[in-house]
């Protein structure tokens, strides 16, 4: 099994305490680290999907549209 690679990120202790209180009970998160990883993945995904470059050139578009029209999709 490959050892999982982690790095340390510092957060204020007061924030850590708030997060510990937030996740205690039945949230399903085993640790503040698990929760922070979950939330940050969500944030990163939001940014990645909002900044997607245009995938098509104008000649791509024409060629694809012609095929879609020929197949009856457009």
């Amino acid at each position: 099994m490959l050892p999982t690679k982690y790095t340390t990120v510092s957060i204020p202790q007061t924030l850590h305490a708030r997060l510990e209180a937030l996740i205690s009970g039945k949230t399903g998160f085993k640790s503040v680290s698990d929760y922070v990883t979950f939330v940050l993945r969500e944030v990163v995904a939001m940014h990645e999907t909002s900044h997607v470059p245009e995938a098509f050139t104008s000649s791509d578009i024409e060629e694809i549209k012609n095929r879609l029209k020929a197949l009856g999709y457009l």
């Binding site: 490959l2 399903g28 879609l68």
Partner: protein, 370 residues
């Protein structure tokens, strides 16, 4: 990411038998899917660190969600080394792709089976395939890919590039994907329409590929869906396109892969029902919904549905969330019962299957795989 598919066959010339790896039809479709961007961000077959990260963490080394390895098994006779170029060819010798070879490594089949399928039982079809294959695999980046021949399904096989542009041209911002490997009955239709009510468009994406005895044939799946859409869906509300992909029956982990693939097609949502991508009783009925909690960054939103059924008391299609009545009020038809009905020349009741869909099946000479 999309690798250009080459119509220029000269790029595939000049490879010796020692530089050629023979692959089967399902692997040929996998190569085409990688090239078309269905498996984006993959650009080829995984190396060892990605493989281990996927089976242990359900993520690529880059942290991108990924739950089932994409590997190129090779025989012990293959002696290619890193940075060699190799030809992937089908069993008739037709070129499929050129790859830049990466590392060769061994996988533990039992470890793969347990971590991906949750079982080492050789009766599980996905596990069986792993056990039958080589434990020696090679990573490799695709350099050139020949145009894949989809035969009679070519006109209903859209690439992610094509579906993304199609959705944009139709003005769809939200699109829900429906994955299936069966002809539709009314429960499927209600699930699809429940989702369609919340989005701009529906992407019906049947999986065509290796079959088990008793499955509907690919031709019948496509024809029945066309009949359903033509008769029961608002014009322009559905895109029907097939996906050439070999089912792994990995339950929850495959549900995530299905979501990733449909995200790559441009979908914003996907329906996940009861026992999605499951087989037998290996997975809990809603385990494939639970797993989505692990992936807040999947990039596609699941719509979870409980099982639909016809309730005689309610007089319509319902789920346990909307219907208070017992199982004795439910009309259920197993695949076995349905096949027997058609074999006996009977039509299923309209509470289970639309007559236009049943007609397509009844008129087909051999609707089921022998």
């Amino acid at each position: 990411m999309q690798i250009g598919q080459s119509a220029d066959l000269s790029v595939f010339a000049g490879f010796t038998p020692e530089q050629t790896i023979t692959i089967g039809k399902e692997m040929r479709n996998l190569v085409a899917n990688i090239a078309n961007g269905v498996f984006s961000p993959l650009e080829g077959f995984m190396g060892e660190s990605d493989y281990l990260s996927v089976i242990d963490q359900m993520r690529l080394e880059s942290d991108v969600p990924w739950t089932i390895p994409v590997l190129l098994p090779i025989s012990d006779q293959v002696r290619l080394t890193t940075r060699d170029e190799a030809l992937l060819a089908d069993q008739q010798g037709t070129p499929v792709a050129v790859i830049e070879c990466g590392e060769t490594f061994e996988i533990s089949k039992k470890e793969y089976a347990m971590k991906v399928f949750g079982t080492e039982d050789g009766a599980h079809p996905g596990v069986s395939k792993v056990y039958e294959g080589s434990s020696r695999v090679m990573s490799g980046k695709l350099k050139a890919v020949a145009r894949n021949d989809y035969g009679k399904f070519a006109d209903r096989t859209l690439s992610p590039e094509e579906t993304r542009l199609l959705f944009r041209e139709r003005g769809w911002n939200t699109i829900v994907a429906f994955q299936t490997r069966n002809a539709p009955h009314i429960n499927h239709e209600y699930l699809q329409k429940s989702a369609l009510a919340l989005v701009d468009g529906l992407f019906v994406n049947p999986v065509l590929g290796k079959k088990k005895s008793g499955d509907f044939t690919d031709e019948v799946i496509l024809a029945t869906y066309q009949a359903l859409i033509d008769n029961y869906y608002p014009k322009g509300s559905v895109v029907l396109s097939v996906l050439h992909y070999e089912m792994q029956y990995a339950g929850p982990k495959e549900a995530i892969m299905h979501a990733i693939m449909r995200k790559n097609f441009g979908c914003t949502h996907i329906t996940i029902g009861r026992d999605h991508a499951g087989v037998g009783t290996y997975y809990g009925p809603y385990a494939a919904q639970e797993i989505f909690k692990e992936f807040p960054d999947l990039g596609i939103t699941p719509f979870f549905f409980r099982e639909f059924y016809y309730c005689k008391k309610c007089g319509g299609i319902a789920t346990e969330r909307t219907c208070p009545h017992g199982e004795d009020e439910r009309l259920n038809f197993s695949g076995t019962k349905l096949r027997k009905m058609f074999a006996d020349g009977q039509m299923p009741p309209k509470e289970f299957m639309r007559p236009e869909v049943a007609q397509v099946i009844a008129q087909s000479k051999a609707p089921f795989v022998e």
